[in-house]
Symmetry: C2
C-alpha cells in the first residue's frame, strides 16, 4: 500500500500539476514538421526531471532528441525503466477542433489539447509520482531509468540504434510503458500484446502531366482509377487481405482469450456511436469486433490523393495518384515480409501505362509479452490501488513499437499500464484526457514503484 | 478566294496581333476562382470589338458575364454566328509550369500561357479577320453575331437560359465554333460530333472524425478503402463501364466512319509518347484507340482525396473521402439518365457504416451535326485556303457544350473549325499555341466569312 501521505500530497498539488501539464501541452511537438518545438519540449522535460532530483539530458538523434534520465537510489533495490513519448500526432484537420490543439483548455472535467492523452498526459504521471514519493513518502523505492522518446508518432525511425547504443544505461529489472488505455471507463486494463505496423506509400504515375479527359479519355490508363482498383483489390469480399503471404505467420488466438474477451463489457452499439458510424464493418468475416481489433491483422488506407481536388470541376486525367497504406500486424507477423508481399502485389497489379513506386514509411513488429510475471502483478495491484478495480488483461490494436524493442533488444517484458480512456479522440481532433485519469495515473505510478520495490526485491 | 490584300495585311500586322493576344492572356480568367479577372477580360474584349466597329457589350449572368457583339452589314447578306470562350482551366499544378501561366512567353515558335490555345488564341483569330477584311479588303461580307462565353471550362452552368433569352439577337444562317484542334500538325480537321459530359462528385463519410487506425482498424469501414472499391467497380475487367444502363442509348459508329478513321495518319506510339506513357490503356476491349476517344463513352476519376495527404505518416482511418468523376458521353446518350444510373450504382454499392453523397457538378449533352452542308463546305474550303490542305472530317472526344445548345436551342448546326494542335497541352501545365496556327486561324476565319457570304448568299 502506498503511504497515505503520498496520495494526500498528490491530492493537494493537483492544480499545480495540471498547470505544469498545460505548459507541456503548449509545445506543438509534431516530430516531422516541428523540430524546434521538439527540441524545446525535450529541454523543458530535462529541466523538470532535474528539479525532481534525476540526472537528465536531451540526447540528439538523426531526427528528434530523446530525453534520458536516471535516479540511483541503491544497489540493493530493483531498477525500473519508464517509457513515454513527448511527440504528438499532427493536429490537422484543424477546422474540426473546437479549441486550438496547442492552447490547452479544461472543460467538463477533461483537458483538451493534442497530446493530452497521447502521450504527454500519461508520461507526466510518473513525474508527479516521483515528486510525491520524494516530498511526502519515504523516497523513491527503486532505481529509475526514464526514456521519453521524440519520434513515436512517426514510427520511431531512430529508436532502434538508440536503444542499442544506450543499452547499458537503460538496463533494468522491469519496465513500464504508459501509452495505452483503459478497456472502458472504470475498468483499468494491462495490455500484453500489441499490433505491429507496416506503413507504405504507393504512387501510380501515368501521363507526364495532367491531360484533357475528353480528348484522351478511353485511350489512357487513369492513375486514379488504377489506384482505386489496386487499393480495392487489397481486400476480398470477405474482408480478408489479399496480399501474398499476408496471413502465413499469424498466431491464432487461443480459446482462453476468446472466452475472456467475450466476458468483457463491450458494447458494440455504443462503440459504433462513439465513432459516429451507424454500423461497424471493414473487417474479416468470422471474427468478433474485439478479435478483429486485437488479434487479426488489418489493412487501411490512411490517405489518398490524386488529380484535381479544389473547388468545382477540372476535366483531367491526372498525371499521378498516391495512397498511404498502413497494415496492422499481429504476433508473429514480420513487417519486412509483409512489405515484400505488398511490393509483390503492386508489381503484379500495375496496369500498362502506369509506373508504380512503393515507399516504406515505417515499420514495427507486433509483440506479445507473458501475461503472468512479478512485474505484471505489480502493475495489476497498482491499478487496483489507484482506480479501485482489478485490471483486465487485454490486447491492443495499436502499435507501441518500443514494447517489442524492449523485449528484443533489452530483454525486458514491459508492463503496459496506460491511463487513457477509449473516447479520448486519440489521433483525432479534440483529443482530450480526463482529469481523474491524469490524477489517478500519478497514484498508479507511485504504487507501481513501491510494488516493484517489494515484489522484485533482491 | 480571299483578296491578297487581306492576307498581306494579316502578315504585316503579326507582331501587333501577337502583342494583343499577350495582353488578353494576362487575365487569369478562371471562372470559379477569379470573377474579377473575368469581368476585366470581358470589358477588354468589348473594347476591342468596339474598336473593330461592332456593337459590343458585357452581359451579366448568375456567374461570369458573356460578351455579345454584332455587326450589321446588310439585309441582303447571310449572318454568321461566331463562338469562343474567354474563361480558362485552373492553372494548377503550378509547380509543373516552366513559365508562369499568366505571364505569356514566346519561345520556339509558340506562345506559352494558360488559355493560349483554349480558347483565347483561337477566338482571337476572328477579331484579326474582321480587322483585316475591314482595313484591307472589301469589308466584312456577312452580318456577324459574336458570343464569347465566360464559363465554358466549368460546364457552362448559365449558358442555356442565356441563349434562350438572347435567341433573337443570336439568330444566324450559320455558326462557327473555334474551340477544337487539327487532327495532326499539317492536317486541319472539322469536327462533326462531340462527346457530352456528366461530372459528379461522390463523397463517402464514415467516422465523425479521423480515428486511430490501430485501435479501430478491422472494426470500422474505412471511407478511403470503400471509395476505392466503389470507383474500381465502375469498370469491369474489359474496361466497360458498369453503371446501370450506361450503354443503353449509345449510337453505334458506322462502318463508313470506321473505314475513314482507319485511313487517318494516327500514330499510336507517337500519341502515347506525347502523353508520356509507355503504353495506352484504360478503354474498352474491341475498339481502336480513335474509336475509344471519339465514339465510345468513358468514365474517369478527375481527382480523389481523403485522409492524411501531408508529409510522412499519420495512422488514421479517415472520416471521409471524395472523388470527382467525369463521364464522357456519345450521341445519343442523355446526361440526366447517366447521372441517374450513377446515383443508383452508388446507392447499391455503399457499404454499412458509410454515408454517401452524390453531387452533380456539370452536364452537357453529346452532339452530332450533319457532316455535309453549305456551311460545312465553307469551312472546309477556308481551312484549305489557310493551311493548304483539305480538312479531314473527324469526331472529338471533348465536350463543347455550346455546339449541342446551338443545335437544340437556335436550330444551328455549327461548323467546328478549330486551330489548335494535339500537343498544345490543353488543360495541362505548359499550355501553348503555335504562332503559325494563330496566324493561320485569322486567314481561315476571314476566308470562312467570305465563303459563307458566297455559298449562303440570299
Amino acid at each position: 500500500m502506498l503511504p497515505e501521505t503520498v496520495t494526500e500530497y498528490l491530492s493537494a498539488n493537483r492544480q499545480r500539476h495540471l498547470a505544469e501539464l498545460i505548459e507541456l501541452l503548449r509545445f506543438p511537438s509534431v516530430a516531422n514538421t516541428e523540430p524546434e518545438a521538439c527540441n524545446q519540449v525535450a529541454d523543458w522535460l530535462v529541466e523538470r526531471l532535474g528539479k525532481l532530483g534525476l540526472e537528465a539530458r536531451s540526447v540528439p538523434t538523426q531526427g528528434r532528441p530523446n530525453v534520458l534520465a536516471s535516479l540511483h537510489v541503491s544497489e540493493d533495490v530493483p531498477t525500473l525503466l519508464i517509457y513515454g513519448h513527448y511527440d504528438v500526432q499532427p493536429p490537422d484537420p484543424l477546422e474540426l477542433w473546437d479549441t486550438k490543439p496547442f492552447e490547452p483548455v479544461v472543460r467538463d472535467g477533461a483537458i483538451y489539447a493534442r497530446g493530452a492523452d497521447d502521450d504527454k498526459g500519461q508520461l507526466y504521471a510518473h513525474l508527479m509520482a516521483i515528486e510525491a514519493l520524494t516530498e511526502a513518502g519515504d523516497g523513491v523505492p527503486v532505481n529509475l531509468r526514464i526514456l521519453l522518446e521524440g519520434e513515436e508518432e512517426i514510427g520511431s525511425p531512430n529508436i532502434e540504434p538508440f536503444l542499442i547504443e544506450h543499452a547499458d544505461e537503460l538496463a533494468a529489472d522491469a519496465a513500464v510503458i504508459s501509452d495505452s488505455e483503459f478497456f472502458a471507463e472504470g475498468l483499468p486494463s494491462i495490455t500484453y500484446s500489441l499490433r505491429g505496423l507496416s506503413y507504405v506509400e504507393v504512387t501510380f504515375r501515368g501521363p507526364s502531366v495532367d491531360i484533357h479527359s475528353g480528348l484522351n479519355g478511353g485511350a489512357v490508363t487513369n492513375p486514379v482509377n488504377a489506384l482505386a482498383r489496386l487499393v480495392a483489390g487489397m481486400h476480398d469480399s470477405n474482408g480478408r487481405v489479399t496480399l501474398p503471404g499476408f496471413y502465413d505467420d499469424v498466431l491464432d488466438l487461443t480459446d482462453a482469450e476468446r472466452t475472456q474477451w467475450e466476458a468483457l463489457p463491450f458494447d458494440e452499439a455504443g462503440y459504433a456511436k462513439s465513432l459516429g458510424v451507424d454500423a461497424l464493418g471493414g473487417g474479416e468475416s468470422g471474427f468478433s469486433v474485439l478479435e478483429r481489433r486485437w488479434a487479426r491483422p488489418t489493412l487501411d488506407a490512411n490517405g489518398i490523393v490524386g488529380g484535381y481536388t479544389g473547388l468545382g470541376s477540372k476535366t483531367i486525367i491526372p498525371a499521378e495518384a498516391s495512397a498511404k497504406i498502413s497494415m496492422r500486424l499481429v504476433a508473429n507477423q514480420d513487417p519486412a515480409r509483409i512489405v515484400e508481399g505488398f511490393r509483390e502485389y503492386v508489381a503484379e497489379n500495375t496496369p500498362p501505362g502506369i509506373q508504380a513506386q512503393v515507399q516504406l514509411n515505417a515499420g514495427a513488429r507486433p509483440v506479445m509479452v507473458p501475461p503472468q510475471s512479478p512485474a505484471m502483478e505489480a502493475g495489476k495491484e497498482a491499478m487496483a490501488e489507484a482506480f479501485g478495480k482489478e485490471a483486465a488483461m487485454t490486447r491492443c490494436g495499436a502499435s507501441v513499437p518500443i514494447t517489442e524493442l524492449f523485449q528484443r533488444l533489452l530483454g525486458l517484458d514491459a508492463v503496459l499500464m496506460g491511463f487513457g480512456l477509449p473516447d479520448d479522440n486519440l489521433h483525432s481532433p479534440n483529443e482530450h484526457y480526463r482529469l481523474e485519469q491524469f490524477y489517478g495515473g500519478a497514484v498508479a505510478s507511485a504504487a507501481m514503484m513501491c510494488n516493484i520495490g517489494r515484489l522484485l526485491a533482491k
